[in-house]
Symmetry: C2
Subunit: 406 residues, 2 copies
């Protein structure tokens, strides 16, 4: 299905947008989903620990699948033979595939890669096999996967890259975007461009303007989900990019899923987000709960997220705020017969107590991870639903302030 974006209402005081993404198939069938939107991630053609029906019950729009992982296993040829990704994984809603770029730059064996004008040489993290990913190859794989939205292959420079490096990198990413567009042949699939440029206003502006000139069905702001990214830099990257993106195209901030970041970046004009965090947090026993906390102690980096499994409300830096979460392994929940959140409408909170989930997590029962994944995904989707209401009523700034105070 091809995607278009309808801007329905712009918040009067901020850059926040309420809109719709409309997917239309070649035979005229339509699916519509509201934005702001959070996309659950189904890395290997499955949202970890969940059935498609369980994902559907969280009321998502698009889901994301990873080109890099599916290229390695099972291979795009097998997915194509299966009739495409939708049929393979039994998902009848829209699917966005990333370009594989982020994984090449973050997951390559020993983190070694050789970036040339032609593409990136690296070794598989699974078995050390030599691999070569180019802009053309990335698009070919995504064409074969038959997702609804494909992403251009971009370089994801580290957060520490200097301005000179970034300038060369942006130029190459623009050439790669053009090369990818030329070989994009799936008429049932949209193609998005990606804006890079670190936290620099001039670079973001330049990258945005030049990417828009190439002409894509939607635009992403990239290079903000590095492990050692500063939150301030993320907000700047968005703030310096969105003014130069067309109002009639959807805007996607890649790899961002912390609640406070969703709020801050919707304010700055982003429509769509994705992140593995809700399911990853769940597999470590964590449940997101409403609100954020201000912190005055030392900053913790986003990479802490990956390993933190102990205690209540251990969290990540969000400028001066951090998300709230509880870890269900904690003994304090052994006799807590209330849901994770009293006012949450998710399947987990409607049917199970913290005591039961604590029991499942302590026993390493898979269903505990399922229940927490459902809650965490629904938590982020509810947050986007609340933001939509606030924008419709021109009350986004009030919503944001209340959220930051909560």
């Amino acid at each position: 299905m091809k995607v278009t974006y309808q801007l329905i209402h712009k918040d009067k005081k901020t850059g926040a947008r309420y809109g719709k993404v409309v997917f239309e198939s070649e035979n005229g069938e339509k699916q519509e989903y509201e934005t702001p939107m959070f996309m659950p991630v189904g890395t290997q053609a499955t949202v970890k620990t969940l059935s498609p029906e369980q994902v559907k019950a969280t009321n998502p729009g698009i889901i994301l699948a990873n080109t890099y992982h599916l290229w390695l296993r099972p291979g795009e040829k097998i997915v194509k033979k299966a009739g495409g990704l939708h049929k393979f994984m039994n998902w009848n809603g829209p699917i966005l595939t990333d370009s594989g770029g982020y994984q090449v730059f973050s997951l390559a064996h020993n983190k070694k890669k050789d970036i040339t004008e032609e593409g990136v040489h690296f070794k598989s993290e699974l078995n050390g096999e030599k691999l070569f990913l180019t802009p053309e190859k990335s698009i070919e794989i995504q064409n074969a996967l038959d997702s609804d939205i494909a992403m251009s292959f971009d370089e994801c420079p580290p957060a520490t890259a200097d301005k000179k490096y970034l300038k060369n990198s942006i130029e190459r990413t623009l050439r790669w975007a053009e090369r990818g567009k030329k070989v994009h042949k799936n008429k049932n699939q949209s193609l998005f461009g990606i804006v890079q440029g670190g936290p620099y206003e001039d670079l973001r502006k330049w990258s945005a303007i030049e990417t828009v000139k190439l002409g894509f069905d939607g635009y992403a702001v990239g290079g903000v989900a590095n492990d050692d990214e500063e939150k301030d830099d993320m907000y700047k990257a968005v703030e310096y990019s969105t003014p130069y993106l067309p109002e009639d195209k959807v805007r996607y901030l890649m790899g961002v899923g912390e609640p406070v970041d969703l709020v801050e970046c919707v304010k700055r004009g982003i429509d769509i987000f994705d992140c593995v965090s809700p399911t990853r947090l769940a597999r470590h026993g964590n449940a997101l709960i409403w609100g954020i906390r201000s912190i005055n102690d030392k900053n913790t980096s986003i990479s802490d997220l990956k390993n933190s499994t102990d205690g209540i409300e251990k969290s990540i830096d969000a400028k001066n705020y951090k998300e709230k979460r509880i870890n269900l392994k904690n003994a304090q929940f052994a006799e807590d017969f209330t849901p994770i959140e009293d006012d949450c409408d998710c399947y987990t909170c409607q049917n199970y107590t913290k005591a039961y989930i604590h029991h499942l997590i302590k026993c390493d029962e898979a269903f505990g991870k399922t229940l927490l994944s459902i809650h965490n995904i629904r938590f982020l989707i509810r947050l986007t639903e609340k933001m939509r209401e606030a924008i419709k009523n021109d009350k986004f700034e009030e919503f944001r302030e209340n959220f930051l105070k909560s």
Copy 2:
């Protein structure tokens, strides 16, 4: 809920019975389920890798939960505070709890236990803690769990026990059954007795007659699911027990779930089965498929089941037959875009191909285990549904012969 059994039709040529178990709550609410029946096992208050809705979709009747495991974690007091096992695990159908006896005898730390007239001293396999389980304690725990059917605490002697040992053991088990019955106080819960006696006709007859004299709501045939049990001995144990059990009470063969055994033991008058095998097989990548194969090669023991994860149709001895199964890890399924079984009505076979499940199992994705668990449980329940039809039409023997030829 209390259970009664209605014998609706007895097969004209065999001992096979078609009937109903009727559960009635104190306030008169009724639930009815047909037999023969296979009960999925929810050891730790969850059927491994499945939601209650996914279990329900396999059309089960009763499910089983393990008293021993729930006693250790989270403890029966917490389950009671939660409002009982049904509410704790969000299961509104009937639940049977075993007595804990089998686990004490098979799982105790270092397999060491001290059997006295009072009860069994042993150490927790989780942390080495000293534990003491008595008939009274087992019933108290089950009363607190508030299952619909509680089982009497019995000794489960090893398959190698001699006749003299078994005779003493049966006498003790009878005294334990009487002690348990005396302290059974949950008016919303039925209590079943257990027949022991190894493969000996005189011992089984004696155990059955004496257990029935004590008077229970249903009867189980026990001591047949030992790792080193011969299949012949299992069939004998059933054959020598059921003639002495009342026709108006349900008969349950504990811990048996291989398809050929379900058929052989329904023939010998059993109504209800349970086994962890469908979910355990699934977690190792295996799917049950219709039919059995005769074997002429060396026997493999039931204990092989626990570790076999490789290849196609590695299986367990069933006298001269073994079950059929495929292992989805096998490379031959990488491009097999057909369901596990073409004529299976389960959620997995209706929506997913072997290629997709192969991919999930190769990537160690939890949803692969979920899909295989659904298929395997539904497989056994479909088998019981087919047996019901055959009995209703007085064609059980033909069904059995066709099954053995398949």
